[in-house]
């Protein structure tokens, strides 16, 4: 195997991994705080793509990276509303109920997006040139920015969760809801906020993906299943684990095509996924927030 081909694919894989990790962090945060598997995750990512797309192609031609900030804010609001309407009422029911509640939101989002935009592939055309690095040769500017966004957002999430009062409240609610309520924490507000943050993360990663690959309203489904794999790999409910899991899967997708046919890559992913579930269900880094 020659090193010249290997290093660029390693860099590509690392880049993908950060973006995947970002989406998976949203999914895992929601699970960690309220034990809900958010089945609207994929369409929410697709919504993030279309927020960036609409702003970019609209009359203002908003810069895609500004569009990602808009997607973050929109995701936060959207998530809080989704929680209050669809999840809050059934938050204490068995998991089937919350699965179906979030799945119904999934159907609604896909329905609206396909009615508005059809399933024609779209793309956000953005080019930032490339820089030449020894050994790696060309690194695309869009890729560098994607990694930077992922790192900044992940760092912000960390600061929010572990360095602020609100973060402390969220973690308290995740740990023991009734005890948190006895301490005077408004658990409903914290749950809604966490759902909003999780949704915002998914939308941001959707927005980033929009600047990298073509997409349509159904694109979310593939990324959603990928997020499941990553989340289980890193430990269900553990945001750091999700980032690590994302990088593992990204590296796998970048490197494996050098050794096996591309169509076998998902086979490897699912084998790892099932093996982790069987051997170490808590994931690589252990579960919980």
């Amino acid at each position: 195997m020659n090193l010249d081909a290997l290093i660029p694919s390693l860099v590509d894989g690392l880049m993908l991994g950060f973006v995947y990790g970002l989406a998976a962090m949203g999914l895992t945060l929601i699970f960690g705080v309220m034990r809900v598997i958010n089945l609207s995750h994929g369409p929410v990512m697709a919504t993030g793509m279309f927020v960036v797309y609409v702003l970019f192609t609209g009359p203002l031609a908003v810069n895609p990276y500004l569009g990602i900030v808009a997607a973050l804010v929109f995701g936060l609001v959207f998530g809080v509303i989704e929680y209050l309407i669809a999840v809050d009422r059934v938050i204490n029911e068995p998991e089937l109920t919350t699965l179906l509640a979030t799945f119904s939101v999934n159907l609604m989002i896909v329905g609206v997006l396909t009615a508005q935009f059809t399933t024609t592939p779209r793309a956000v055309d953005v080019s930032l040139g490339s820089i030449t690095v020894p050994l790696v040769r060309n690194v695309l500017g869009t890729h560098l920015i994607s990694v930077a966004i992922a790192i900044v957002v992940a760092a912000l999430l960390y600061l929010l969760l572990f360095r602020t009062r609100i973060g402390k409240q969220i973690r308290a609610v995740a740990n023991n809801r009734s005890a948190a309520e006895l301490m005077g924490i408004n658990s409903r507000a914290m749950l809604a906020l966490s759902f909003g943050i999780g949704t915002a993360l998914a939308m941001v990663s959707g927005g980033v993906l929009a600047t990298l690959f073509p997409f349509n309203p159904l694109s979310g489904a593939g990324y959603e299943i990928k997020s499941f794999v990553i989340v289980v790999l890193g430990g269900l409910g553990n945001p750091t684990g999700a980032l690590v899991g994302g990088i593992v899967i990204g590296l796998l997708e970048g490197l494996a095509p050098n050794f096996v046919a591309v169509s076998w890559v998902p086979v490897i992913e699912y084998v790892i996924f099932i093996a982790i579930l069987l051997v170490r269900p808590a994931g690589l880094l252990g579960s919980r927030v």
């Binding site: 598997i37 029911e93 179906l100 119904s104 499941f228 099932i274």
Partner: protein, 322 residues
């Protein structure tokens, strides 16, 4: 006082048999196609109900058994030249075996992990068949025209498939009924309510869950074998379509989870609703949105489903509708 009770099972079997005979009697091919789909959905929803409704484990990727059965039967008919009925019976074994192996391994995972694991297994099977050249790889397999000749042509073959699907659906309902009425069914429901308590009263949860999972895997396999026999084409994305799994789950909930009659009602309602939305020009563009909205309303406000709601509202009905 002797109270006269209408026995549920004979009534529902006779009713379904009459419905199944209608297209033949009326000579309506379109009705037959609609009913074929409904019988298939009843089979899928009712078998999911056994593992999800009775036992409390959400099998999200249940369609994997449909796809496996379809692929195995298709292979036997196309490559080995087996008769459809023989292939249909054989199609049960791979699914049952996989359910046994996987069930033993993953049913000890609780709740959320199990749901995710079943999605993973379905997706894994899809990508494996995508790469497996024996089964046609990503392109899939097609029937030669000559395959249908032994059944008297494509038309009679479709008709044979239709009646087989009706019988499979009725068999699923009967099995679901007997499971619910048996001691075994009681132990499943005990596990659903509280696994630790179930163990204390002498139930072996691991064993009971695996048996329930295998039972629920057998019928989708036959449905898959029949569906793809009539289809004449099989390819991985159609066989292992996660959406179909989720739809059968939704039907189960619409009709009433954990009830024998629920999946029948749910499947019929869902199909009727979809037909209504697709054919209505004003609503067609938003059919997915409306389906989602309706599901949300059911989940939030009528979580017992139609049959469950009726049973709770009019408790007399509990004696008649299991």
């Amino acid at each position: 006082m002797i109270r006269y009770r209408i026995p549920f099972l004979p009534v529902i079997v006779v009713l379904l048999a009459i419905v199944a005979a209608l297209p033949g009697l009326l000579g309506q091919a379109t009705l037959r196609e609609e009913l074929f789909l409904i019988f298939m959905l009843i089979t899928l929803a009712s078998s999911i109900n056994i593992i999800m409704g009775y036992t409390g484990y959400v099998s999200f990727g249940h369609i994997v058994f449909f796809g496996l059965g379809g692929y195995f039967a298709f292979y036997l008919m196309q490559v080995q030249g087996w008769h459809f009925i023989a292939a249909l019976i054989a199609s049960v074994f791979p699914s049952a075996l996989i359910a046994l192996v996987i069930g033993t391994a993953i049913l000890r995972l609780r709740g959320a992990y199990f749901a995710l694991a079943t999605v993973g297994i379905n997706e894994a099977m899809r990508v494996v068949f995508n790469n497996w050249e024996t089964f046609g790889g990503a392109v899939g397999m097609f029937f030669n025209f000559s395959i249908y000749l032994q059944y008297g042509g494509a038309g009679p073959a479709r008709e044979l498939g239709y009646y087989v699907m009706a019988i499979v659906a009725i068999a699923t309902i009967a099995t679901s009924y007997f499971v619910k009425r048996s001691k075994f069914g009681l132990s499943l429901m005990a596990i659903r309510e509280d696994q630790d308590v179930a163990m204390v009263v002498g139930i072996d949860p691991a064993r009971a869950k695996v048996v329930a999972y295998v039972i629920s895997a057998v019928f989708p396999a036959m449905a898959g074998a029949t569906y793809f026999f009539r289809n004449g084409i099989i390819e991985p994305n159609d066989a292992f379509q996660l959406q179909r799994s989720i739809e059968s789950l939704v039907m189960c909930v619409l009709g009433g989870i954990g009830t024998v009659a629920g999946p029948i009602v749910g499947a019929a309602m869902y199909e009727w609703l979809r037909g209504f939305l697709i054919t209505n020009p004003a609503l067609a563009a938003y059919q997915l949105f409306l389906a989602g909205l309706l599901l949300l309303i059911v989940v939030l406000f009528v979580s017992a489903g139609l049959v469950g709601w009726l049973r709770n509202r009019y408790t007399v009905l509990r004696a008649y509708i299991p």
